[in-house]
């Protein structure tokens, strides 16, 4: 392979803009418009990579996404990118790349010694070896020896974004067929047309046509499309997935072509989600190599690649060029190459007969023809400098004796065309095997998709392809089928001998088609080989399933903006800034960022929680309770409706009064709890758990919209319209009284479980007397805009009363001491109300409610159901963990588990709640709680450790 000193005149690179770049530490020069591959080729770099398994030297083989060997490590550090295909990397100033999977370099790779042991390392050797002592012992060594590039370990400093777009027509591929489709679709000016191409420039194979007429048509067409407002052209964009309802996923490389000069304000890549009315696939076709001994040597490439490099980039990559073909297409391209200053010396064809006109034209062009011959040997160290031909037997089953050697430094392979049907197949399209061209073509799809051009098998020429899936009469263990993963014809033979006859099994056993290129050049050859070996026609063998992505995609693009603080949506409390000013330790509770506790200087979590619990028990505490679910239900049927939703009797609830209740699903399982307030005869306020607000609202809407559509009921979610604080503790009433209000807060006037509306410091307020701490509590709500001010007003009012802000951790301790249930923590997906001690209340409830029927099933009446209980360690200082199993008496199984456990600062001991089989009838019994290998003796007790009479609630 020789360097190209001067590009041919038709080159589509900007010779006035040279670009310096480096590969494997050496500096080179290319031109604007080059890819890394074309620039390396122009500089005579023959070895660019090493193969995955045997570390065989590999050169540039293709000119597009089907590249099998030129994988490079691009850049370094956090911006480094492994496995970049040199054929797809546009040249930019300062580009630095190196070969990968080699040591010390791809040119001289010591791992290349593995190639000498090829016979010991056939397909799936690792399933049969490395049994002792175990695969995991050997795995690190195997991973180090076989592999690809290295992923960066530092965080990616670049950013990515996802974007959605809609178009009546999406055209994939801006080659000749795609451009024609876009012209036609956009002609009316009404339909939005999105034209997408993966290359740097639109034009597809037209870019490799030196014909002035082609170039003029391309320029004119692009100008026409650019002038149409309804056309959007996306280049550097690969459509990677085709899903139901004509949804496509495409990855746009926004700044990769700028390299380190890319502005930080621009995203590196953009993941498009495209919604198309109709899709036109103009994805072209990929050329296949031929399978023969040592067909992977640097200097051997696809004929399509040779044309691209010679006719688009103006490179003459060798001194003696030969084509090896099985179809007419190669002949025409040999003539085109010769006509444009890239003389082809030889054309070798496996066919014994070729169209006379082609033969005569080739003869006139001075191309030496070798019909009915196969390449049986290639020579070079490592790059190609010669091949050996041998005549094929007339029936193609073997070789004849005569051999001849040819000198050549580039061998271009033309083994037939494979329409790029990946996206069509992903769309659910069926494929049909076209025997005449030895390829799969689209054959029908339920989605609104049209395939045009070479992607549908319209090659614009007669191919007369005669497949030769493997070269007969020579060893198959040096005939590469999947170049990248080092799968040879011998590996396919081995798999068939071992009865891997399914193409899916063959793929996984041999790894053919599993590499980065996903078998773009190897799949059909492997299928043809499998078909021949198993005595079946190719259609019967079928293809493996095409799955997204068509082309590897950067994971960052799938993350998009959802990283760091935007990893998931977050909800802010109205008094968020006040909590921060108080030094709150914030934690995520669902989407809400809530104070877990308020540590003072040097305080640990447990110390802060203890201090906050004591403040509530002895003076007063203030909790930001805004996420408390708040649903208003109104209407003439509201009361009856809620009576079906809750297990309680709500028919007797009077205005101004509140009642605690449970909500069940149809299976009778507890889904939420909360306090129902009667605001008026036909107007109710439901308090749900903070995490259950959305689920309960959806439950109510489902009942109204799907089950009882005639009910006169309206549900309004006002959860975030009202900021809510919980003021709790023996001094709560005094603190609240210190703020101007028109509410009568007197104990007799405003007792426990009643509700009032009024004004708080001049703004409307709602106040509920309910308690989740066991102390006198006021749940005060004001319009959310006043939430922060109300919080700060109460903190100020409480200064002289020992008031402290407290977080959710202290609340959990307080309610556990009191034995208050927390749905979702103390219940699970099996908990029914009778497990919580509601059996008699339900029996007294005359009306029907959701879930009632399920409660009467035998499973609901089982006395061994897990029941809500208190648990006290015999040793008060012993610690219990949430999730600890409560063992059966014989210790052989779990009889339940601890749901909530904490150290009670109030009681000076550990207390816990749990769900334990038959617990209510076993009170006083000592059982063992097991956690992480330790057992703790605990006593089953009533679930109320603190003030079981509730005397403090109405103090």
């Amino acid at each position: 392979m020789k360097p190209t000193i001067q590009r041919l005149p038709h080159a589509r690179v900007d010779l006035s803009t040279p670009i310096e770049f480096s590969f494997d530490g050496r500096r080179y020069t290319g031109y604007a418009g080059d890819t890394l591959a074309s620039a390396l080729l122009a500089n005579g770099v023959d070895v660019v990579g090493r193969s995955f398994k045997f570390h065989r030297p590999r050169g540039i083989f293709a000119a597009g996404p089907e590249e099998t060997g030129a994988f490079v490590q691009l850049g370094a550090g956090a911006r480094g990118e492994p496995n970049a295909r040199a054929t797809l990397v546009p040249l930019y100033p300062g580009l630095s790349a190196c070969g990968q999977n080699a040591w010390p370099s791809v040119r001289r790779d010591l791992w290349g010694v593995l190639d000498r042991f090829r016979a010991l390392l056939p397909a799936a050797f690792y399933y049969k070896t490395f049994q002792w002592p175990s695969w995991h012992f050997w795995e690190p060594l195997v991973r180090r020896a076989a592999g690809l590039g290295r992923a960066p370990t530092a965080p990616d400093p670049q950013w990515y974004v996802k974007e959605n777009a809609h178009a009546e027509v999406v055209v994939v591929g801006a080659g000749r067929s795609g451009l024609r489709a876009a012209l036609e679709a956009s002609a009316g000016g009404r339909d939005r047309v999105l034209l997408i191409d993966e290359q740097e420039f639109p034009g597809g194979s037209l870019l490799a046509s030196p014909d002035p007429a082609d170039r003029a048509w391309l320029d004119e067409t692009l100008a026409t499309l650019a002038a149409r407002d309804n056309v959007t052209l996306l280049t550097r964009t690969t459509v990677n997935g085709y899903y139901d309802h004509n949804v496509l996923a495409a990855l746009e490389r926004c700044t990769d072509h700028l390299g380190p000069a890319a502005p930080a304000t621009q995203p590196r890549q953009r993941l498009w989600r495209l919604f198309a009315g109709r899709v036109v696939l103009a994805t072209g076709a990929l050329e296949r190599p031929l399978v023969f001994p040592d067909n992977d040597r640097p200097g051997i490439m696809l004929a399509s690649a040779l044309c691209e490099y010679a006719l688009r980039y103006g490179i003459v990559p060798g001194a003696e060029l030969a084509l090896y073909s099985n179809n007419d297409s190669a002949w025409r391209r040999a003539l085109a190459l010769t006509a444009h200053g890239v003389p082809v010396a030889h054309i070798v064809d496996v066919r014994r007969e070729v169209d006379d006109a082609l033969r005569q034209a080739a003869a006139r062009a001075g191309i030496v023809q070798h019909l009915g011959h196969a390449v049986v040997e290639t020579r070079g160290d490592p790059a190609l400098h010669g091949i050996t031909l041998q005549a094929l037997a007339p029936d193609g089953s073997g070789l004849l004796a005569s051999r001849k050697n040819l000198s050549c430094d580039v061998l271009a392979l033309a083994g037939g065309w494979t329409p790029t049907v990946h996206l069509y197949s992903q769309a659910g399209g069926r494929l049909h095997w076209r025997e005449a061209d030895s390829c799969f073509v689209p054959a029908g799809c339920a989605q609104a998709v049209t395939v045009v051009g070479r992607a549908v098998g319209d090659f614009g020429e007669r191919l007369n392809t005669e497949p030769l899936w493997v070269t007969p009469g020579v060893a198959s263990n040096r005939q590469w089928v999947d170049f990248q993963y080092d799968v040879t014809a011998a590996d396919i033979e081995l798999a068939v001998r071992e009865n891997y006859r399914s193409v899916e099994h063959l793929k996984r056993y041999t790894t053919a088609g599993m590499s980065i290129d996903q078998g773009k050049t190897s799949n059909v050859n492997a299928l043809g080989l499998l078909a021949g070996l198993s005595g079946r026609p190719v259609p019967e063998v079928g293809t493996t399933r095409f799955r997204p992505p068509y082309h590897p995609a950067t994971l960052g693009a799938f993350g998009g903006l959802e990283t760091g603080s935007l990893y998931q949506p977050f909800q802010r409390l109205p008094a968020h800034e006040s909590h921060l000013a108080l030094g709150a330790a914030l934690e995520d509770y669902g989407a809400w960022q809530r104070p877990a506790y308020y540590p003072r200087h040097g305080e640990r979590e447990a110390e802060a929680v203890t201090r906050e619990v004591r403040a509530v028990r002895e003076a007063a505490g203030l909790l930001d309770y805004s996420p408390l679910g708040k649903l208003e239900v109104r209407g003439r049927d509201a009361r009856g409706f809620l009576n079906r939703i809750y297990v309680n009797n709500l028919l007797t609830l009077r205005p101004g009064f509140a009642r605690y209740g449970l909500v069940l699903n149809e299976a009778g399982i507890v889904m939420d709890d909360g306090v129902v307030v009667c605001l008026a005869e036909d107007h109710f306020l439901l308090h749900t758990t903070s995490g259950g607000a959305t689920a309960v609202r959806e439950h109510l809407e489902e009942c109204l919209q799907c089950e009882w559509t005639g009910l006169d009921v309206i549900v309004t979610d006002v959860t975030t319209a009202w900021a809510t604080v919980m003021l709790s503790g023996p001094a709560a009433r005094s603190v609240l009284s210190a703020v101007p209000t028109d509410l009568d807060l007197d104990r007799e006037a405003f007792p426990h479980m009643q509700f009032r509306t009024g004004h708080f410091a001049g703004v409307p307020c709602r106040v509920l007397r309910a308690s989740f701490t066991g102390e006198v509590s006021f749940e005060l709500s004001v319009p959310a805009g006043y939430g922060r001010a109300a919080w700060e007003a109460l903190l100020a009012a409480g200064r002289g009363h020992g008031l402290l802000p407290f977080g959710l951790e202290a609340l959990m301790v307080l309610r556990t001491e009191k034995g208050y249930l927390h749905v979702g923590t103390d219940t699970d997906g099996t908990t029914m109300p009778q497990d919580l001690g509601w059996g008699r209340a339900i029996e007294r409830q005359e009306a029907d409610f959701i879930g009632r029927r399920s409660l009467d099933l035998a499973v609901g009446r089982d006395p061994e159901r897990r029941q809500f209980t208190g648990l006290e360690p015999l040793d008060p200082a012993a610690r219990l963990s949430d999730g600890a199993h409560v063992l059966t008496p014989d210790g052989s199984a779990s009889a339940g588990y601890v749901t909530s456990a904490c150290y009670s600062p109030t009681l000076g001991r550990t207390v816990a709640l749990g769900l334990v089989a038959g617990a209510r009838s076993r009170r006083g019994e000592v059982v063992k709680a097991w956690f992480a290998g330790e057992t703790v003796p605990v006593r089953l007790v009533a679930p109320a450790f603190y003030d079981p009479e509730g005397a403090r609630l109405d103090d």
Partner: protein
């Protein structure tokens, strides 16, 4: 007399880039109107009070003193000028007395963000799968944006984005990140 200070849901924060701007629409007040389908007389009374026919879901009409956006069947958002909440609520409550209707002040529960600038549609397209090219003034869409439920109401040179108040800061941060290349 109010002694407490009302807090802007964005805490004063906004996004201001050359191509994209986001700010709280402080000139607006919001009222949610829900009517029961089981009470057929309610709609005509509401229409008389609003001076406009209630739009179907996805429609926006101009009423007397407010825009009426159809959020969902039986569910409308009234968008009025600043300080109009109390009178609008009172007017509707009076008109709908005896009907099954919910007239709920929503200025506190919702945040109205106004997105302006030539890149606003691009920023929106990064957060919603909605076909924004088909969403014109006179229409609205209850959809999902940046992973959360929102109501989009197009204006002549802006897009009004209404969401739960607690999400205001998240949506601002998200739009700020999504518009980093809109300078």
């Amino acid at each position: 007399m109010t002694e407490l200070a009302w807090q802007d849901p964005l805490r004063g924060g906004a996004v201001a880039r050359d191509g994209f701007r986001l700010a709280a629409a402080e000139d607006l007040t919001l009222v949610r109107l829900q009517l029961s389908a089981a009470d057929p007389g309610a709609a005509s009374r509401a229409e008389a009070a609003l001076g406009a026919a209630l739009p179907a879901t996805g429609g926006v009409v101009e009423g007397s003193g407010c825009r009426v956006a159809g959020r969902a069947p039986g569910d409308w958002l009234l968008i009025a000028g600043g300080g109009e909440t109390a009178s609008l609520v009172q007017t509707l409550k009076s008109a709908l007395a005896g009907c099954t209707a919910a007239v709920t002040p929503a200025t506190d529960g919702q945040v109205a963000l106004r997105l302006t600038g030539p890149a606003r549609e691009r920023v929106l397209a990064r957060g919603t799968t909605l076909d924004l090219g088909r969403l014109a003034p006179g229409q609205c869409a209850a959809t999902r944006f940046a992973g959360v439920p929102v109501l989009l109401v197009p204006e002549a040179e802006a897009m009004l984005l209404l969401a739960c108040r607690s999400l205001a800061v998240y949506l601002r941060d998200w739009c700020d990140a999504a518009s980093a290349d809109c300078c």
